[in-house]
């Protein structure tokens, strides 16, 4: 085989700017893992955006049933919000404890996070159960369909987060602060904080905007 044809423009600085930053090579595992998880979170947020869009389209379609202002209880939602925001703080504490390899503070931070998450879930579940009992289930109207789906989707994420949280605690208990366990912990923390951001959206769009008379 001959190799006499023209060579491609093989210089890194075709416009002679004078700055050539050579790529240093593959990133470390920690960076790759966190980066990939970020990309996943972005895709998860895209999924939520569909449910937000559906809520925006359908929130006026009450089909003779109740509107948001009639069924939302701001007090409960305020408690839910406080729980979730506080849990973000305690989750952050647990992350720091993991970074400095402090088991006691790690377990404490995670346990408080778990309890706050569970309180959030109980309040949400009671809100849902109460609505269904009053005949305002998701099949009542398109508005309630979109409300239950959006809020429920977030609730499912929190439930999955609690399950993950307990698994993380068990892992640290069994394996200690191994490098791969720490990477997973970092991903969990990212996940938990992202759920908070989404809750801020839910709180604003559903309960504040929708709750206005």
């Amino acid at each position: 085989m001959s190799m006499t044809a023209t060579v491609g423009h093989a210089h890194a600085d075709p416009h002679h700017i004078g700055i050539v930053i050579e790529h240093p090579g593959p990133a470390s595992k920690r960076i790759v893992t966190a980066y990939g998880f970020w990309v996943f979170l972005l895709s998860d947020i895209v999924m939520f955006s569909c449910f937000f869009a559906a809520y925006a389209v359908l929130s006026g379609q009450t089909a003779g049933g109740p509107s948001g202002a009639e069924i939302f209880e701001q007090r409960n939602v305020a408690i839910e919000t406080v729980c979730l925001l506080l849990s973000s703080f305690t989750c952050g504490m647990a992350s720091i404890a993991a970074d400095v390899r402090n088991r006691f503070w790690f377990y404490l931070g995670m346990a408080v996070t778990c309890v706050l998450g569970l309180i959030f879930l109980v309040i949400e579940f009671r809100e849902f159960a109460d609505l269904v009992a009053r005949g305002y289930g998701p099949s009542r109207s398109a508005f309630l369909t979109s409300f239950f789906s959006l809020v429920g989707c977030h609730g499912l994420h929190v439930s999955a987060g609690v399950l993950w949280l307990l698994t993380m605690m068990a892992q640290v208990f069994a394996k200690g602060f191994r490098a791969d366990v720490l990477r997973r912990m970092m991903c969990f923390a990212l996940f938990w904080h992202a759920l908070d951001i989404i809750w801020v959206g839910v709180f604003s769009v559903v309960y504040l905007l929708g709750g206005a008379p």
Partner: protein, 666 residues
């Protein structure tokens, strides 16, 4: 106990699916029997099923796509025959069966042929082109593949147990709602796409992270081969678009299972919201498929013209422009919805704008060929065939992007001809070009050129004879998805199209023959150098097939066309590799996580379709347990000692030195 499942689910009164299912079942059992008796099971399990090697997973993706191509192709043959005979008669397929066939054909061809084919090629090639040892998340990669296979499995089960959707490949409500589709068909459709969609998302995240974070030393963004760029664009689209599909299908399933009102006609549901959501995924999807094909053509055209790609930077810009604009045109799929002239005009113009970067690409390929020393090997034939065909498809695309014209052509056979023109001419030709081009890299021997060229010419001709008549039938007013018709003027075109389908089938047979003949003559076709095409990018810098670690050293890249550059320098400096200091290499261990996960996903999907709730819970617990067991393992890597690396690498270097000295002698 078994939900909605009972003996009435088996279509004893319909011979076609029953016989087809029986044949497939016998074939699968036969292969399994052969594997077990010959004692290949441990090999299959250790080397393939549990493999987390990106090359192996890529090959398995392509194998899945090829098998499903035969299934989807059989559906196509049945439809063409039906429309050729069903003039003023019922033909041989009853309407409810015909409707399932066109729905299954579309679903299979997009989700289980085109997607796995391009994802398989990306998996196989991209880490090699980037000069790295694996993708970012090897085990997750395996999970993604097996979930895709689960989706394909469920679609095929629907052939024999129950039914498939009769709604078309996108299952528009209210037809796909519970009141008009009470059977399990739509559930098969939705759950198989949900499960395989998770697999696709995983693959997308994996490849985005791989391209952005795992590149060898010196592989700056603007030195990446074009295929890596199109992979990046395509997978960014997957990450941004597939969650929309997941959400939309979840809403449809909530409507069907729990009586929600997203897309119903009652209680304020909004059917057009489904159209908007599904096409907000669906339009990017076509670019998810075709962008990697563009990348393949860029590699092939440049290699077989013996020149660097013309206008590399404009190609990068065009790729990323398509990536962005593809999210802004979804409404052109339903101009007739009645959104008003302003909205239609904006989306019509946006659709035409996409033709500009695509045109840039076509010109770049033409100018790459211009003045080059062109070798018309099989991959190059597919590429040139693509350029001709895709231009026609692009032009008819610009035509239907004009809203007034679209009102006439919407849902006609013209549209069917148009999207087959771009998907076959673009994606499938690209997949075949990539298959021919990278096969030697994957398996260590080339494919037979004579059968390859025959396959190209039959497929190419067959495509034109099949689909050009459909354009004309569409102009004559024929709408799509007709089980029978009474218009005499359409008949001749349908017969021509059926004839074209026969020619296309000969092309497929040639493709299979090529594989058989090449495997038989593999010693004569052996690629000893690792560089059978005189390639330009890094995948050709390692042996064929590459060692499990791909490269003994991360290559040091100094410019575009990294391997070409190395070869040129080596020629000047006579390959003076002083024996380098080899080091131990850590590689990820094999893991059955993907396979077991998919096993439970299959159980869960099947149970959800048939409302067998205890089995759903069982599957869910199993999947979670699999992840926990995976997370609990203590050793996730193994070490290849430096001596072993040295031994493997020296063999490769010897072959290469002889290549260079031979070239020097010429």
């Amino acid at each position: 106990m078994l939900g909605k499942l009972d003996w009435s689910a088996i279509p004893f009164d319909q011979p076609i699916p029953l016989v087809a299912g029986a044949v497939v079942l016998v074939a699968i059992l036969g292969v399994l029997f052969w594997v077990v008796v010959k004692g290949h099971l441990p090999y299959l399990w250790d080397e393939w099923i549990t493999s987390v090697d990106h090359k192996r997973i890529g090959v398995m993706y392509i194998l899945l796509a090829s098998v499903m191509l035969l299934r989807g192709g059989s559906d196509a043959i049945m439809m063409r025959i039906q429309q050729a005979v069903a003039y003023q008669s019922q033909g041989y397929l009853p309407p409810e069966h015909y409707n399932q066939i066109f729905s299954a054909h579309g679903t299979i061809m997009i989700f289980f042929v085109a997607m796995p084919f391009v994802i398989g090629l990306m998996n196989l090639v991209v880490p090699l082109q980037l000069g790295v040892r694996d993708v970012a998340f090897p085990t997750l990669n395996s999970v993604g593949f097996w979930l895709t296979a689960t989706g394909a499995l469920l679609v095929n089960i629907s052939l024999v147990v129950g039914e498939f959707a009769r709604t078309g490949w996108l299952a528009f409500p209210p037809l796909s709602g519970l009141s008009y589709s009470p059977g399990v068909g739509v559930d098969y459709y939705a759950w198989s796409l949900q499960i395989s969609g998770v697999g696709t998302l995983v693959a997308g995240i994996n490849l985005v992270t791989t391209v952005l974070k795992l590149r060898t030393k010196g592989m700056n963004y603007l030195r990446m081969p074009m295929f890596c760029w199109t992979t990046l664009a395509s997978n960014l689209l997957i990450v941004a678009a597939f969650p929309i599909l997941t959400a939309t299908l979840a809403m449809l399933l909530l409507d069907r299972y729990l009586g929600f009102h997203f897309f119903t006609n009652e209680a304020g549901g909004n059917v057009m919201m489904f159209m908007n959501l599904i096409w907000a995924w669906g339009h990017p999807e076509v670019y998810i498929l075709v962008l990697p094909a563009f990348g393949i053509f860029s590699e092939v055209v440049s290699t077989f013209s013996g020149k660097a790609l013309f206008g590399y930077r404009s190609m990068v810009l065009a790729t990323m422009a398509i990536c962005v604009v593809s999210f802004m045109v979804w409404l052109h799929h339903f101009f007739t919805m009645g959104a008003g002239p302003d909205v239609n005009a904006i989306f019509g113009i946006a659709s035409m704008i996409i033709a500009i970067p695509t045109g840039v690409k076509i010109y770049n390929w033409l100018f790459t060929m211009y003045g080059g020393r062109i070798r018309f090997a099989t991959p190059m034939l597919w590429s040139v065939g693509f350029m001709v065909t895709f231009i026609i498809g692009g032009l008819t695309g610009v035509l239907v992007a004009v809203p007034p014209a679209d009102f006439m052509l919407h849902n006609s056979m013209f549209l069917v001809a148009h999207f087959h023109n771009v998907i076959i001419g673009g994606v499938l030709f690209g997949a075949f070009a990539g298959f021919e081009y990278w096969f030697p890299k994957a398996f260590g021997f080339r494919l037979d050129e004579r059968w390859g060229k025959a396959a190209f010419w039959f497929t190419f001709t067959g495509f034109y004879v099949t689909f050009m008549p459909l354009y004309i039938a569409g102009m004559l007013g024929m709408t799509r998805r007709l089980q029978h018709y009474d218009v005499a003027a359409w008949r001749p075109w349908m017969i021509v199209a059926a004839f074209g389908m026969a020619v296309l089938s000969i092309g497929v047979i040639c493709q299979i023959m090529q594989l058989v003949v090449s495997i038989r003559n593999r010693e004569a076709l052996r690629d000893r150098t690792g560089d059978p095409w005189d390639g330009r990018s890094l995948e050709w810098a390692t042996s064929s097939p590459p060692p499990v670690f791909n490269f003994a050293f991360h290559p040091d890249v100094r410019g575009e066309d990294a391997y070409w550059d190395m070869k040129t320098r080596a020629q000047q400096q006579s390959f003076d590799h002083d024996v380098p200091g080899y080091q131990d290499i850590e590689m990820p261990r094999n893991s059955p996580t993907g396979f077991i996960c998919a096993f439970f996903a299959s159980i869960m999907g099947f149970a959800l379709i048939w409302h067998i709730w205890w089995m759903v819970i069982l599957g869910g617990i199993g999947a979670f347990a699999t992840f926990v067991v995976f997370a609990w393992r203590d050793h996730d890597e193994y070490v290849i000692p430096a001596e072993e690396v040295a031994r493997i690498d020296r063999i490769n270097l010897e072959e290469r030195r002889s290549l260079v000295s031979m070239a020097g002698a010429v």
